[in-house]
């Protein structure tokens, strides 16, 4: 879809038409409609199943599948329609010369005192790219889900959650102000929680959902505080008012803007799984695999990157925050890549790979290359969605094969796989394409985007904090090499070598149905060509840029210029002309060539080495030892958090409950009651009921008052 007409294909001299949004509200509302329809169907199915169980039947046996046709039609259908509308809008914006964002305001949402927030959508170049990714990749994943989830009793519930997610994600990327964005931000978090714990009968999976939700709360706290700071500084929360005013109102590198951006980055780190809040994402793999593809790889987790790019002006004003963003990004990328080297669960490898790639995106936006972050976000959405969907096809096949023989082996453990290429050729080939793309092999999508990130990280070394950025640049290069290793390891263990499923099971292994393989093929094509939308000028002219065969260079860069121009101007003013050489010399073409050669060499080397590994099925495998066990156990970060964060919080909560609540507060409340009752009992002794007593007291009282008045 990103191959849509390039600027150079425009007819010379054609007058750019003004951009008119085409039903922007409907883009958002269609998935919400799908959620309502599927939700109603899901509730009816649930009620009927409950009635059947009450009537004495086995609920699972007596599910009726009549509703599934409607769900199949509505679930992917609404997202597909949204995608068509987005394409229409894209075509309109493409031919228009749009500089300022188009804000479509529907109604006044909040008016309290100085605060005025409209329910408004903002259509500009950045939200357009995000919409294309969300609805386009989202639609493919919906289609894939039709095959993957077809036998699940929660089919309608699944699609209603998935539609709701798309709705909130569109609100997030289209919101024209911080609060509207925050509604989407929280909404996708809710859907993520619902879908991670989709099989909530399994305690572990329900807990994984809770973990994701709670860790995200920490990030949301940062988002809220940042939003309050923005409001006290600017007096408004609309993007179109805040960003143009920022350079005038905020001092470059000042405390306010640094605080604002750091708190926003805390929110981004929670949503996008960066250090120190990344721990929820690997556990989120408990959800159905297409959910991992859509929410935990292609769209929701990239919301943090989108946020930083959206607030490019603010981050450009805060060099310290930008350096923090870049540092955290690289460290996360490196840490996650090392963990991915030693995981055996196919989805865990991909989860850590996602965290690692998100780290790259943050490196890009941290060094001021905002469009590159978005570029990698887009290409990553293609190949990581493909990898997850491919792993879904593998798990699907493994699950069915193991189910046939009533084996209890783990269908996600790569030690139980091996040699699957014979039975799943389409999955095998498409996943290899994605693997080469993520490893950064020329000329696939990941090569262009990742190379651009590393290149800009190198350039940053000659502006601010040279030592820091040089180190980051080296680490980013090293991580790129690790990527090639762990992805090749995954492919070899899954698809190559001898089959380890067992002889009987191997007979039942089969390729996924066409409804699942077609999305794989489409995503594979996108993983090949996706990078061509932003071939750097220097590279485009060389052999690496297909020797100038592409109709354009740096299209995405120019497309996003209206968004990033403000930030670029600030950086230019304070940092000067950007450098044109990497820290140790050499131009972009040289480093790009070197890195792709290194990636390819490592892929081949790992493939050869891995072919000689003696992998034993999980049931008979010994626990990893030494350094490998450190990586296998994820550097014991979860244990560290448990010891130093979770347990202290639990202890503090227990103290609050047992001491503060049960003793102090309950004591105070009950004590007050006791005092009142005792006082009442004492005073009631004077209430004898004897009329003479009353008369006597009355008289004495009158006499006392009289005496007081007279004397």
């Amino acid at each position: 879809m990103t191959l849509a007409p390039f600027p150079s294909l425009l007819q010379e001299g054609a007058q750019p038409a003004a951009y008119e949004p085409v039903l922007p509200g409907l883009i958002v509302l269609l998935p919400l409609l799908g959620f309502l329809v599927n939700g109603v169907l899901a509730m009816r199915v649930g009620a009927r199943a409950a009635a059947a169980v009450r009537a004495g039947a086995d609920g699972a046996e007596h599910q009726d599948d009549g509703h599934k046709r409607w769900v199949t039609l509505v679930g992917p259908g609404v997202v597909g329609l949204s995608f068509v509308l987005v394409l229409l809008n894209f075509a309109g914006m493409f031919h228009a010369d749009l500089h300022d964002p188009v804000v479509v305001s529907y109604w006044s949402w909040m008016v309290t005192g100085a605060l005025e927030v409209d329910a408004a959508l903002q259509l500009d170049q950045l939200s357009m790219i995000m919409m294309l990714v969300v609805t386009g990749v989202g639609f493919l994943i919906h289609v894939f889900s039709v095959g993957y989830m077809h036998d699940d009793p929660g089919y309608a519930r699944y699609f209603s959650y998935l539609n709701l997610f798309v709705f909130f994600m569109l609100v997030l990327v289209l919101g024209a102000s911080f609060p509207v964005m925050f509604v989407g931000w929280e909404g996708v978090g809710l859907c993520s929680y619902l879908l991670i714990g989709f099989w909530f009968q399994d305690r572990e999976k329900a807990d994984a959902g809770k973990k994701a939700f709670i860790v995200n709360r920490i990030g949301d706290f940062g988002f809220l505080v940042a939003m309050f700071l923005v409001f006290t500084t600017f007096g408004t929360l609309a993007f179109a008012e805040v960003f143009p005013e920022a350079p005038a109102l905020l001092e470059y590198g000042g405390a306010t803007v640094t605080a604002i951006t750091l708190f926003f980055f805390l929110g981004a780190a929670g949503k996008s799984a960066q250090i120190p809040l990344y721990v929820w994402l690997p556990d989120a793999m408990a959800g159905p695999t297409p959910v991992s593809a859509l929410i935990h790889a292609a769209t929701m987790v990239t919301a943090g990157v989108y946020m930083v790019a959206r607030m490019a002006v603010l981050f450009a004003l805060a060099p310290v925050s930008s350096a923090v963003v870049a540092t955290v990004g690289v460290l996360t990328a490196l840490l996650a890549a090392t963990i991915a080297l030693a995981q055996y669960d196919i989805k865990k490898v991909l989860a850590y790979s996602t965290i690692s790639q998100l780290g790259y995106m943050f490196l890009a936006v941290g060094v001021g290359a905002y469009y590159v972050g978005i570029f990698h976000l887009m290409t990553h959405a293609f190949f990581k969605a493909l990898l997850f969907l491919g792993s879904g096809a593998v798990i699907h096949a493994m699950h069915h094969a193991l189910h046939r023989t009533h084996s209890h082996a783990d269908p996600q453990d790569m030690r139980n796989m091996g040699g699957l290429r014979a039975s799943m050729p389409v999955t095998w080939i498409t996943m290899w394409i994605a693997t080469l793309a993520i490893a950064g092999v020329w000329p696939l999508a990941g090569f262009f985007s990742k190379d651009e990130i590393i290149w800009y990280a190198g350039l940053a070394a000659s502006s601010s904090y040279p030592a820091l950025f040089t180190v980051l640049w080296v680490l980013a290069l090293a991580t790129a090499l690790l990527t090639a290793i762990y992805m090749t390891r995954l492919m070899v263990m899954t698809f190559h070598g001898a089959n380890r499923t067992g002889r009987e099971e191997a007979r039942h292994l089969h390729e996924a149905p066409r409804v699942m393989t077609i999305p794989l093929v489409v995503l594979a094509v996108l993983s090949v060509v996706g990078g061509w939308v932003n071939v750097p000028e220097e590279v485009a002219a060389s052999v690496l840029g297909l020797a100038g065969a592409l109709p354009t260079s740096e299209w995405l860069h120019h497309w996003l210029e209206p968004i990033t121009a403000g930030a670029a101007a600030i950086r230019y003013e304070h940092l000067g002309e950007p450098a044109h050489a990497a820290p140790f010399g050499g131009g972009e073409v040289l480093w790009a060539g070197l890195s792709t050669l290194a990636a390819l060499a490592l892929v081949l080397f790992t493939a050869r080495a891995a072919a000689r590994w003696k992998v034993v099925p999980a049931a008979r495998a010994a626990a990893p030892t030494g350094f490998k066990s450190l990586l296998f156990n994820k550097w014991y970060v979860d244990e560290f958090y448990d010891r130093f964060v979770v347990q202290p919080v639990l202890a503090a909560s227990r103290f609050s409950w047992r001491v503060i609540d049960a003793v102090l507060i309950d004591g105070a409340v009950n004590g007050l009651g006791l005092v009142t009752r005792a006082g009442g009992a004492f005073v009631s002794l004077f209430q004898t009921g004897q009329v003479n007593t009353y008369a006597l007291v009355l008289t004495l009282g009158v006499l006392a008052i009289l005496g007081f008045v007279v004397f």
Binding site: G689, Q690, V691, A695
Partner: protein
């Protein structure tokens, strides 16, 4: 003239108060209350000679209220007597907490 009238009034009031406090027969207590009211009436009339006619107007009010009170009070006493066969107020102490 005023001194004598007020002295009489005070004496009557004290006698009435004393009766209310000491006696246990409801009828007697009732009569003592009437005595107190009339002591006040006497004081009002005595003052009205020097202050104005309002004192006498007040007396009519007091007499009207006293008449109404007598009607209601006696009715209550009669129904109490029918129930308990006594009008000794020591026996009536239900009206408490």
């Amino acid at each position: 003239m005023l001194t004598e009238a007020l002295t009489t009034s005070a004496l009557l009031f004290v006698i009435g108060t004393f009766g209310v406090l000491v006696r246990r027969n409801a009828i007697i207590m009732f009569l003592c209350i009437e005595l107190q009211l009339n002591a006040v009436n006497l004081a009002l009339v005595a003052f009205s000679r020097y202050v104005g006619v309002e004192g006498q107007v007040f007396v009519f009010f007091v007499m009207t209220v006293a008449a109404a009170e007598a009607a209601v009070g006696l009715a209550i006493i009669i129904s109490i007597f029918r129930h308990y066969r006594t009008v000794n107020v020591d026996n009536f102490n239900l009206l408490k907490w």
